[in-house]
Every structure is written in C-alpha cells, then in structure tokens.
C-alpha cells in the first residue's frame, strides 16, 4: 500500500470518529466514546504511517526529503498535530465532549488536502533553497503552534456559543463523559493552548530566521509570510498581556483567541494564495 491510500483512509477515519463523538454527545451514549477514541488513535496511526510512507517513497524516487515541503504535505501534518493535540486534551481533561468538535478540524484539513485541486499532491523534488535541515525544524515547530491555535480558536467558538446560550450560568464540573466541560474549563484549555501555541510559534519564527540567515544572510526581510507570522505573534502577545495585566478571561479571551486563529489562517493559507513572496513555493 502506498502513502496516498493510508492518507485517504485517514480522512474517513477522522470523519467517522468525528461523527461518533458527536453521536455520543447528542444521544448521550457514553459507550460510544471509547469507540470514538479508538478510531481517533487508528486515524492518527494511519496518518503517521501515511507520512512515513511518503517519506520512504520520496527516497525511492531519489529525492529524499521529509514530507513537509508544500501545501499538501503541510495540511497532512497539520491534521496529524490537531488529532494528537486532541488526544492529549482528552487524556488530561478526561472528557470526550470536545472530540467531535476538535477532530472535525483534523478531518477538514485532511479533506481539503485530499480533494482540493488548488495544489499538487505529487512528490516533487525540492528547490535548492529548501534543501536544509532547518526545513523540518521550521515546519514542525510552526505547525505545532498552528495546531494549538486551531484548537484554541475552535474552542473559543464553542465557548462563545455556550456563553450565549447559557447566559453565563456556571455548571458544576463534569462527571459523565458526555457532560460539557464548564465554561471555566474551556477558558482554561483555551488559555493553555494559546500559551503552548505561542511558545511553538516563537520557536518556529526563530528557526525560520536562523534558516533564512544561513541561506541568504538575512534573518528578517519583511516578506509577507514573515510579517504575517509576526502579526500573529503580536496578536497572541496582546492576548497574554491582556490576561496577565488586565485579567481578561472568558468571553473577551475567546474573541481574542478567535482573532488570533483568523490571523493564523491568513498566515498559513492567505499569504500563499493571495500574496507573493519568499514562501510562494509553499503552494
């Protein structure tokens, strides 16, 4: 079997897991949760195998690079980081309620990677500029950050919906797996995801700067991708300052998390397709 097959299955496994998680919440059947978690783990495994096989295939074609060099490969890795982040949250917070919600982003990333016609899915040789060990370090760190921000942004939407519908009534902490985590817990996860994402985005920007300096002799050239990643960094820096010094939390923090996520989407996607610059090969 080849990588494309595994990644194809991954898309549908994530979809199935998403549906089962949602079914568990709607029909309040806790037992479904275990199945959904098992499916998610299988999905992550298929996703990992797909990435590793693609890596092997690129060596077989005599190109040999870690599959993180274009839009397709980055989306596949993005889905992987979201699913893994979700599994960690499920374990730490002992709740499966968020499964359908967060995993749907992993599914969307995979579905977009598989079905979009905007970019090529072929294994293509690397341009001379991309042939560096910094490629893996830069892309992996950035995407861990992006995934954390994606989870924070997704949960922020959930928070806003819940805050609206419950009129800010605070629930007692969850007992059953299908019980919604209360608003405080959601706020806590959003905040932690922002911290986590911020740290990795910082590492991502730094590795990018060091790489640029080793390839071109400039660690910062205000290229649109660089500038947008800095804008994103500033948005989250603002969020953290507002929280630490002004005590922002809850609804206001959720809005900031959402704004940050929009900035991430633009940095990741918008810059590649709407603006031109050093990172245009990312498409």
């Amino acid at each position: 079997m080849d990588s494309a097959q595994f990644l194809g299955y991954t898309t549908f496994i994530y979809l199935a897991a998403t549906i089962i998680y949602v079914g568990m919440v709607i029909f309040k059947i806790d037992r479904l949760g275990l199945l959904a978690t098992a499916l998610t783990i299988i999905g992550v495994s298929a996703n990992s195998i797909g990435i590793i096989l693609r890596w092997v295939e690129s060596y077989r074609q005599g190109i040999g690079y870690i599959p993180l060099s274009n839009m397709y490969e980055s989306l596949v890795f993005f889905a992987w980081t979201i699913a893994v982040t979700y599994l960690v949250i499920e374990r730490v917070y002992k709740t499966r309620y968020l499964g359908g919600y967060i995993l749907s982003f992993a599914f969307l990333a995979m579905a977009y990677a598989s079905f979009s016609t905007e970019f090529s899915k072929e294994i293509k040789p690397l341009l001379p500029a991309l042939q560096s060990n910094w490629l893996a370090a830069h892309v992996i760190t950035c995407f861990i950050g992006y995934a954390a921000f994606c989870v924070a942004g997704g949960l922020a939407i959930l928070y806003l919906i819940k805050a609206c519908s419950t009129g800010n009534i605070r629930h007692k902490s969850s007992v059953s797996e299908t019980t919604t985590p209360n608003l405080e817990q959601l706020d806590d996860i959003i905040y932690k995801m922002i911290i986590f994402g911020f740290l990795w985005l910082t590492v991502g920007i730094i590795t990018g700067a060091v790489w640029a300096n080793s390839a071109w002799g400039t660690y910062w050239s205000w290229d649109p991708k660089e500038t947008w990643s800095l804008i994103t960094w500033f948005v989250y820096a603002l969020a953290l300052h507002a929280r630490y010094t002004r005590g922002w939390s809850g609804t206001r923090m959720a809005w900031v998390a959402l704004a940050g996520f929009l900035s991430v989407i633009f940095t990741y996607y918008g810059v590649n397709f709407l603006l031109s610059g050093l990172h245009s090969y990312g498409g």
Binding site: K124, P128, W134, L199, A209, W216, G217, W222, A237, H241
Partner: protein, 457 residues
C-alpha cells in the same frame, strides 16, 4: 524607580499604551504585506494611479518597513518595553525579598491549599521530621520560633517571577543586534565569472559604492545540477580566498551552505550565463609508455567561439567553430583542433560530455560547457550573534514565564495542650493544580514518617 511623577513616562509605563503601539504596528505591517515593496514609482503609478502613487511614495509605503515612521513605531515599542519593565521590576523584586516568616497562622489558613495534621509527639521531634521530609524534596527551609508555634518556610523558583521581563529584555537584545548589524555591517553583491578574481563588491543599498575586500576572491567553477524533470537541484560555486597569490581557504558553496571568511559571508544567490563564453577542459592521456611529456596538458580554458585558442603553446590550438545546432549555443559544438603532430581535425562534442580524440601517442579529451558568472550575496553582520543570543534568551524567558512557578510553602507546628497541630499550607503563582499535587505528595511523606505518628485532621 518611580516614573509616575512624569506624565510622559507614565504613558510609556502603561500596558494600555503598549497594547496601542503593538496594535498600530500590527495594522501598519498589514499594509506592507498588501502593497508590493521596493518597486519603482512607475510600478505603483500603473497599479494604483499617478496621484495615489505619489501619496504612497510620500508616506514611504514603497519601502514601508524601513520608513522613518515605521522604524519610529518600533523605537517607541522598545522605549515602552524598557519603561514598563523598569516600572514593574522593583515591585517583583520586593515581592521576591518579602519576609515570608512574618506570616501568622491566620494567613496560612487563608491559603487555598492547606492540610492539617495532629500528632502526640513533641515539638522538637516534629521539627526534625518535617525538615528532613522537605529536604528530601530539595526544599531549603528557614525557621522562626514564635511564642506559641514554630514556623517553617520554604520557597522554590522565586526568580521565575522575572520570566516575563527576561522576554522583554530579549526583544531589546534582538533590536540591539539588528542595530549593530545595520550600523557596522553591510549587505553587498558581486558577480564573479568562472575563473576570475574580484577585489571589491558593490553595496546593496548603493550600487555605486564599491567595498574593497580584505582579500581576493576567485571563483574556480560554477555548476548547476538538475533533476530528471529539468528542475534545478543545486547551484554550486567553487570559491577560493587568496591573500597575495596564496590560497588561504577554499569552499564549495551551495544555496544553504555559505562561505565564511574573515568576518564576511558569501551566499550563493544567483548566476548568469556569459554571452559567447565557454569553458573548455582539455586533458591528455598517453597511449604508449614512452609518452611525450612535453605535450601533456590538463587545462581549463575560457574560450570564445570562432577565435583560435592556444592550449599550451603555439603548437597546440583549437577553435570552437559552431556552438550549437540546438539554437541556444549549448552544443553540439563543432571544434577544430591542431597539435601539429598530424593534420588538423574537426569533430563534434555534446554539451558537458567528454570527447576523446587520438593523435599518435597521445589522446586528448575535450569537454565544453557554458561559462557562467556566479552571483554572490556578501554579508557582514557583526550583530547576528547578539540577535541569536536574544532568540535563546527569549525562549528561556518564555519557558520560565509559562512553565515555572514561584511556589511557597509554610509549615506551622503548634502545641495545643498535649498534642501538636501541624498546618501545611502553600501557594503558587501559576499552575495551581500542579502545586496541589505537590502539596499532597508532601502530606503523604509526612504521614509516612514513623517518628511523627501524624493523623490527618
């Protein structure tokens, strides 16, 4: 330092102002990503109209990130960082130096995390046991004897409260490195034809300014490697640094692997095929043992088409008669050759492919390819290591700010009648859930101390 007396400093010390400045930087940065940077006035006129182009030129939108107003915004942010930090660090320091042994029982009971025990042992035994448990977990203790109770205090990572300020300082360090780079460094460019030596490079900011090199730089060869698909795989330049006529350092550079020498770094940046210039490699091999040593050659010759070229001496000549039926001048090449051993010959050679011709005792091989000039970006940046130090400091600061917490622990041993009451209490400025677990762990260890015979209340 108290800045509050000066309203200007007060403004700079406020987080609200910092948030305002950062928001301004964010919004203006967006403009620079939408409007293409560094183009000519004509480009903007064609794209946005004559009048708009002039307004944009005045506002510095064509080179926005180096415009005075944008750089001023960055400078204001730096100022804000300095004043904000100077304004707050004293409070943090005084908190770190606080006398935690002055706490009373009531304060201990106010902490969210507290566990109470009783024991019927005496106070001294309890003190020794408690201290040994804390020291096992690397908590350094301070004690204070009060009239009716003994207070033991210990804290960890008080300095972690400074984490956020380490991040602020790191940003300043990065700016400092960038400033040093822009004042004491330069970016320059040079095209070096294969086989030639340069002694000066031209400044990127001002093409007219030639910067002399402290050594001579020669390019021995430039080469492009292709994938089967025809996409370029690697650009390579063979560079040599010379002092006088002595080769002091050699390196084969590629795009991600530059050449460092005497404070300058040479990056593979571009290339140019040279019009009507070819590199011809000629070498001889002897066929018989008694070869004619005088005629042995192994040379690289830069040749122009339709010009007779001496290989070694007047006796040995060649000429590129035609440069290519392909229409691009990349072979097959038609070559005329004469070594005055026999009659002159004419033969064809494919681009970059070696062709061997036999002439009596010797065989000659010819290899012909396009001659290139390699484009090198030359950078002197004495600030880059300061920038990197800033990066490292930033990551360290973020780690401390996010993941390390100032944890404080108090244990009061109080004699109540014949019994002892032991209060274990503590607080943490971050990761409170993690701290509760730590406190429970200490409680379990205290309960396991045989000499104490503690009971949880």
């Amino acid at each position: 330092m108290d800045f509050k007396e000066y309203s200007f400093a007060k403004l700079f010390a406020s987080v609200r102002f910092a948030i305002f400045i950062i928001s301004l930087i964010v919004l203006t940065s967006i403009i620079g990503t939408i409007i293409p940077q560094g183009q000519s006035l004509g480009f903007y006129a064609a794209k946005y109209g004559q009048e708009n182009a002039i307004i944009m030129e005045i506002l510095g939108f064509s080179n926005m990130y180096s415009s005075i107003w944008f750089q001023s915004l960055l400078l204001i942010l730096c100022n804000n960082l300095v004043i904000c930090s100077l304004d707050r660090i004293p409070q943090v320091l005084s908190f770190m130096k606080k006398d935690n042994l002055s706490a009373d029982i009531a304060k201990l009971m106010r902490n969210k995390d507290k566990i109470l025990f009783t024991s019927n042992k005496d106070r001294q035994a309890a003190e020794i046991a408690v201290q040994s448990v804390l020291e096992q977990k690397k908590w350094k203790v301070q004690t204070k004897r009060n009239a009716d109770y003994l207070l033991i205090f210990s804290e960890k990572h008080a300095w972690s409260r400074l984490g956020a300020y380490v991040v602020h300082v790191s940003i300043l360090v990065i700016f400092l490195g960038a400033l040093i780079g822009s004042f004491f460094g330069f970016k320059a460019f040079v095209m070096v034809p294969e086989g030639e030596t340069v002694i000066a490079i031209s400044n990127r900011n001002d093409e007219q300014t030639q910067i002399p090199l402290p050594f001579k730089l020669r390019c021995d060869a430039f080469d492009i490697e292709y994938y089967d698909s025809g996409m370029p795989k690697e650009y390579r330049s063979d560079l040599v640094a010379l002092e006088g006529d002595k080769e002091v350092m050699k390196k084969l550079i590629t795009v991600n692997d530059p050449f460092n020498f005497s404070g300058l770094t040479f990056y593979q940046s571009s290339y140019e095929p040279m019009q009507d210039q070819y590199v011809v490699e000629v070498s001889t091999q002897s066929i018989s043992k008694e070869n004619n040593r005088l005629n042995m050659v192994n040379k690289k010759i830069y040749a122009e088409p339709r010009k007779r070229q001496a290989v070694k001496d007047k006796q040995m000549h060649f000429e590129i008669l035609e440069t290519g039926a392909d229409g691009h001048g990349h072979g097959p090449y038609k070559i005329w050759f004469d070594d005055e051993v026999g009659e002159p010959v004419q033969f064809f050679a494919e681009d970059k492919k070696s062709v061997t011709i036999e002439r009596g005792e010797l065989s000659y091989s010819f290899k012909i390819k396009q001659r290139y000039a390699t484009g090198l970006q030359v950078v002197k940046d004495p600030g880059v290591w300061i920038v990197y130090a800033g990066f490292a400091l930033m990551l360290f600061g973020l780690y401390v700010a996010f993941f390390m917490s100032h944890r404080r622990l108090w244990i009061a041993i109080q004699e109540t009648g014949a019994n002892l009451t032991i209060i274990l209490s503590g607080s943490s400025n971050k990761n409170k859930a993690g701290f509760s677990i730590t406190l429970e762990d200490i409680a379990t260890r205290l309960l396991n101390e045989k000499t104490l015979e503690l009971r949880r209340m």
